[in-house]
């Protein structure tokens, strides 16, 4: 009975809902003017954002340098595939993810000597360092400001057969499967004992340390995990576009993923996907709107100010809070209806 209270409720319903959404999305999206490639782009950002949410929404670390890992994962994957060193897309993705995670561990180790604003500033600085490295000293491998073109469509050997992912829709489902796995893993993490400690660090880091948790190690672990998420998302971006753009490393990219996470709802895992969806869709829609196109950034900016002011926990947080409130009201109403006759004769303390 106690364990249920600690948060061990069976929750396959949420995973099922996400799976249904992922399957239906490219079919429903065109109704409002979306298309498969836009949906794929949103999922890639959503996957990137899950990592951001793990460090920011669950542990309370604000990193302005996540693009460093997005770019690292992207360029390692792109290099391996475009040079033909690896033909197996999943193998290249894994290599990019591991490279990003290793960078995350090193950068995390260096940045986590500080916390709060100083931590944020260090991540910002490292983000810039990575952008510079990609652009100049490593240009021979990364293509510098031209990026890396010529990535082949995904090739996945399954032993008995080899899958060639060709159409936009097939590419969407390839990304959707990886997104689902990433989401499922993140759900397991936040509901594990380790996840409980991460949330304790968000709530009160000094007390979490005082009751015996090694806070710096947990922070480094989750920072590394977030870098891995950024890495796989970066790898997918290159594969999806057939070209790895250098601005994956840019400070704008780091900023965008923070905004998407906050707008969508930090601490919800699905929030960044919602934020990325809204951001990407509105950008497309506004840019194509006659007479409005030039002002799309202004309109998005104003909209986000309104959203942040209205929903302190983002869109997803706002929705779940409303559902919770609704359920609570219904439950209290039911309880009142049941108790009313029973308590009539008793003195209430």
């Amino acid at each position: 009975m106690m364990l249920r209270a600690i948060g061990d409720r069976s929750t396959w319903r949420v995973e099922l809902a996400i799976a249904v959404f992922l399957i239906a999305f490219p079919w429903v999206f065109p109704v409002i003017g979306g298309y498969a490639n836009l949906a794929t782009r949103i999922l890639i950002l959503g996957l990137f954002g899950i990592g951001m949410d793990l460090i920011f929404g669950y542990t309370g670390m604000l990193s302005f340098g996540q693009a460093a890992f997005y770019g690292t994962g992207g360029f390692v994957t792109a290099y391996l595939l475009s040079t033909g060193m690896l033909h197996n897309t999943l193998g290249a993705l894994a290599a990019g993810t591991i490279a990003a995670a290793c960078c995350g561990m090193i950068i995390g180790y260096l940045c986590l000597r500080q916390s709060g604003v100083y931590f944020a500033m260090l991540t910002l600085a490292f983000g810039e360092v990575f952008y510079f490295l990609e652009n100049s000293p490593l240009a021979k491998w990364t293509g510098g400001e031209n990026g890396l073109p010529g990535l082949p469509k995904p090739i996945i050997p399954l032993g008995f057969t080899t899958l060639h992912v060709q159409s936009n829709l097939a590419l969407y489902y390839f990304v959707a499967i990886l997104f689902f796995v990433g989401y499922w893993v993140a759900r397991r993490i936040v509901r594990s004992p380790m996840g409980a400690v991460l949330r304790a660090i968000l709530e009160n880091p000094a007390r979490a340390a005082a009751v015996g948790h090694n806070v710096p190690k947990y922070k480094l672990a989750v920072f590394t995990i977030a870098a891995a998420y950024a890495g796989i998302a970066g790898g997918l971006l290159g594969i999806f576009q057939g070209y790895m753009p250098p601005d994956a490393f840019s400070i704008d990219q780091s900023g965008e993923i923070i905004i998407m996470t906050i707008i969508g709802g930090a601490g919800t895992l699905i929030g960044p996907l919602v934020g990325a969806g809204l951001w990407s869709y509105l950008r497309e829609a506004l840019q194509n709107l006659h007479g409005v196109g030039a002002f799309w950034k202004l309109i998005l900016g104003l909209l986000f100010i309104v959203l942040v002011t209205l929903f302190r926990r983002g869109i997803t947080g706002g929705i779940t809070d409303s559902i919770g409130l609704f359920r609570l009201r219904r439950r209290t109403a039911a309880a009142h209806a049941e108790e009313a006759p029973a308590v009539s004769g008793e003195a209430q303390p």
Binding site: M2, G7, R191, S192, P193, V197, A210, V211, I225
Partner: protein, 250 residues
């Protein structure tokens, strides 16, 4: 009998200010020790050195025969000393059960473990430990309440519960009855009397009634120094204590 905790001539200086000056303290297992003294006597600084939050400028601290000096709060907690804070340091957005689970997890899993795929129910002994702490603290009815929504007295009990759930050998209580109503204060005293059966306690407390009711041994501090030490009966009549602290009110 070997002492559980021994602080030898510990000093803490903050710039020109000496907060704790060559203080020696011995805590025997199974006892309740009270630390009293006027504001600014150095009690809280001494507590912070014992809990690893602050490093002594000089001197040594030994716990269960091993050197404790220089360890941080996490390591000190792992060795078996846990502190309940004067200003409540709970996890306000967690429920009461979740609050207690956090220190319990540290006790059962160690200070760091990479178990992202384990489920909460997979942590052996967690439900028992959390349940027994909730029971000791009388917070069973409030298990599902958000900690931030608890009444003040309940928050104070949860605060002690957090320290207790690390299963310490030595419990440091920093003003456990501060800000409480007389009834709440009395129930906290009863609670501490229960706790002393299983854990050694050092308590900093301003309420003299509480101190004399609970303590086996009282240490009196004044301006960073220990000016008296002994059983309550001695301290009550000690001339230096009356002068420095009690001001003849007893």
């Amino acid at each position: 009998m070997a002492a559980l905790l021994e602080a030898r001539e510990i000093v803490k200086r903050y710039g020109g200010l000496t907060a704790v000056n060559e203080l020696t303290l011995t805590v025997e297992p199974g006892t309740v020790n009270a630390l009293i003294g006027p504001n600014g006597a150095g009690k809280s600084t001494l507590f912070k050195m014992l809990s690893g939050e602050v490093r002594p400028t000089s001197g040594e601290i030994f716990f269960k025969g091993a050197r404790l000096t220089g360890l941080n709060a996490t390591e000190v907690c792992r060795r078996g000393i846990s502190k309940s804070y004067q200003t409540t340091q709970i996890f306000p957005n967690f429920t009461v059960v979740e609050n207690i689970a956090i220190p319990a997890l540290a006790n059962l899993r160690g200070s760091f473990r990479l178990d992202p795929f384990r489920r909460m129910r997979g942590v052996r002994g967690l439900a028992d430990l959390v349940g027994s702490v909730l029971h000791s603290m009388g917070l069973e009815e409030r298990a599902e309440t958000r900690a931030g929504d608890l009444a003040y007295g309940e928050k104070r009990r949860l605060e002690i519960g957090l320290a207790l759930a690390t299963r310490p050998d030595l419990l440091l209580l920093d003003e456990p009855t501060a800000g409480m109503s007389p009834e709440e204060s009395k129930s906290t005293v009863d609670l501490i009397k229960e706790l002393r059966k299983s854990v050694t306690i050092v308590v900093v407390e301003h309420d003299m009634d509480v101190v004399f009711e609970l303590a086996d041994r009282i240490t009196v501090m004044h301006e960073g120094r220990k000016i008296a030490e002994g059983p309550p009966s001695e301290i009550r009549v000690h001339p230096a204590v009356r002068e420095a602290y009690l001001g003849g009110t007893l």
